[in-house]
Structures are given as C-alpha cells and as structure tokens.
C-alpha cells in the first residue's frame, strides 16, 4: 500500500477529512467486504467510488511517464488491476442486490426522509426503475394479458421475496459495544444481552448488528 502513496503522492481533499490513498483503499476494501456479505443493500458510497476512480486515473497517468521495461511498472500495473477488480466487484454486488430485491429497494428509496443519505446513486436508481418497468412489461406480455381481466395485475412487493435479515453473518468488532440485545431463536431461550469487545469475532444474525454495520462499528468478514 505504500507503493500507492509513493507513486501518486496526492491526497484527496474531496471530503472534510483528508484521506491518504492508503486509507482510501482500506476504506474501499471494507465497503467491498461489507457489501459482499450483507444480505441487504447497504448505504451508497458514491464519494468513495469517485475518489477511487480519480486515484486510478492518477496512477495510470503516472505509469505512462515511467520508462518501459522497468520492473516497478509491472508491479504498479498489477496494483491498479487489483484496485479496479475490488471496485468493480463492489459495484457488481450492489447491482446484483438491486436486481434481486428491486421493488423493496425502490420502496425504501421512496419512503426515506429528505435529509437521510440515499441508498442508491442516481445511476443505480435509474437502473432499478428501468428494471421494474421492463419486468412488468415482460410479465404482461408473456402471461398476464392472457389471464381473466380481474387477475391482470401483480403486486411486485408481495411477489418478490424480501431480503432475509435473519441470515447469520461473521463479523469482527472494531469499536467496543455494550449491551447488544439478542433475540431468542427458539422458544426455550430468552433474549439476552452481549457485550462486544474490540477485535473479537462473532457469528450472529444480521438483524441484530445491522445498525452497527451502517455506522462502521463492526466489519463483516
């Protein structure tokens, strides 16, 4: 990671706190892992994506200036490829979740208050709306128009399954948390309270720690 700062040497001042490129890549990797392992669509990280894209184009420019045949060039090129893979994998898993849960994602976007951060970037929102429209047109043309007239509508919110928030996830604790309430799973257990120590790893239902993932206090692994 020191190669990145060594070659590009720039700092991003797009946000309030200035990030070194190394920290930026770490944040990207954390966001990537969280998105991959969480069962629902997480908050949108468009500033992070933009910063990383700028960083990548920076690094490409610098690579053009290096003389050919230098060993360092191939190492840096490999690093650029790796960062590009992480970024596209992150965006790919977001798109997959949008495709899987499209009516619920659009519903959540419609019902959020104006001040809250948005879950979808403008491009993702357009994608989701188009996907919904296309699916409805397809179902209409293939099946629904042949049904009796009072059965020709389908409620997408009920037809498409919701994300399963009760699935178990592995997590590592970054900030110490106290008094996390764990719901009972079977009738014999009662709800109990756990403390999460820093650096410890757990396996829990996603529903319990969902707010902690959003705030960055735990990392899904």
């Amino acid at each position: 990671m020191s190669d990145a700062s060594d070659l590009s040497g720039g700092e991003e001042s797009q946000e309030e706190d200035v990030l070194t490129p190394a920290e930026l890549i770490t944040k990207l990797e954390e966001a990537w892992l969280n998105e991959k392992f969480s069962p629902e669509l997480l908050e949108n990280k468009s500033e992070l994506v933009e910063c990383v894209m700028e960083q990548l184009s920076h690094m490409e420019e610098n690579l053009q200036r290096v003389r050919k045949g230098d060993v360092k060039a191939s190492v840096h090129r490999m690093e650029i490829d790796r960062i590009r893979f992480v970024l596209s994998s992150f965006l790919r898993s977001r798109l997959q979740k949008i495709e899987k849960f499209f009516p619920h994602v659009l519903e959540k976007e419609k019902s959020r208050a104006d001040g809250d951060p948005s879950f979808l970037s403008p491009e993702e929102f357009a994608f989701a709306k188009e996907y919904l429209a296309n699916t409805e047109v397809y179902l209409q043309a293939v099946a629904l128009k042949h049904m009796p007239p009072n059965l020709q509508s389908i409620d997408m919110l009920k037809a498409v399954p919701e994300p399963c928030l009760d699935s178990f996830v592995f997590l590592r604790v970054k900030e110490k948390q106290e008094n996390i309430l764990v719901e009972p799973e079977t009738d014999e257990q009662r709800e109990y309270v756990v403390d999460l120590d820093e650096g410890s790893q757990h396996l829990m239902r996603y529903r319990i720690i969902a707010p902690l993932v959003a705030s960055g206090a735990v990392q899904l692994i």
């Binding site: 495709e99 009920k158 037809a159 498409v160 399954p161 399963c164």
Partner: protein, 211 residues
Amino acid sequence: MDALSYMPVPPGIGMEENFFSLDDILLSHERLPCRTESAFPRLGFLEKSSESRDIPEGTKMEMPLWLAKGLYERKRRVLSMELPKVYREGWRTVFGADPAVVDLQKMGPYYYGLGSQMLHFDSPENPEIANTILQTFIGRFRRTMDSSQNAYNEDTSALVERLDCLERSLFKSGQSGLNSFQLWEKGRSSHLTASSLVLNYRKRKITDLQA
C-alpha cells in the same frame, strides 16, 4: 465455477412461499387429505370417486396445497385439513429414533417444504411437527454434508436417492464447491470454458454449416 447468467428465485424460508420460485410452485402441487365442512354445489367433478353433481358436506377428499391454502379459513367453515401420514404420530417416532435411515424421497420429495406449509393449517400438533422437522434435518445434515464434500468425480446416485429436494440442493451446492476448489488447485479456475447455455443450445459450428 457455475455462475449462472440468470438468478433463479430460491424456495421460500420457513412458512413463506416465494411467488416466483419454481421449487415452491412444484411443491404446492402436492395433494393433502382434507374434509369439507360445507357443501360445494356443482363442483362434483373435483371428486373423481363420487358421481353426484355437488360435493356434500363431510366428504373426505384430496386437494392440492395451493387450493387448500386458498380455501382454508381460521373459522373453519370451508375445509378442515388432516395431516398426511408422514407428519403423524407414528412416523414422528420413527424420525425421532433414527432420522438418517429414512428414505425421504419416497415419503414425498418435498418433506421439509410441505411440513413447513402444513403449519399454516393450525393443527393442534403444530409445535411437535415443527420440532420433528427440525430434528430430522439436524440428524441428516451431517451425512449429507460429509458425502457431498468427499465424493469427487464419482457416481453419486446412490448417495442422493434417499434425500429430499432441499437436501439435494444442498448436496449440489456442496459438490459444486468441491469441484470449484479442485479446479482452483489445478490452476484451471481462470480457464475459459463454453457457457452451459451455449452447450445446451448446441450451436452448430460454421465449419459444419459450410460443409
């Protein structure tokens, strides 16, 4: 790796059924024994054994799950459901004794799915049914997982024939994980292969067309 070019909707979890899931649609065709609590005029054609035009009250007949779920109401004016044989007391003790030897494919290929759907019908034995299904799954899971992870490149039909559909899909994902890992070990994981869709459509090569 088998990354499909489409994402099939998985069967629903627990008591939910997914509308678009093919497994759930096939599951809902299973027939259940039931008793009609009110008369169904002019629907005699549903009941093959009787010749009358309507179905009188109190007939015992078999209905598919989708029809039974739609007609069932809590006040029980329309239908009362009986448990199929597999979920009754006798078979429950068999499952309790040794879950691993039972042939679940014969007992109805959707044992777990149908059992979860039976819980909708408010039978007094619901907690026991739910518990039996859970314990059966726990008892059989170990063997399914072991056999799926250790049967590489051999004929698995003997292992799979006693499993029901949920266990078969678990077995299949275990096998695909094992195969992917072996491919990765051989260094062939980035080897490009023709997609399964193309192979299934069996595109004719240009050389065959021109000949």
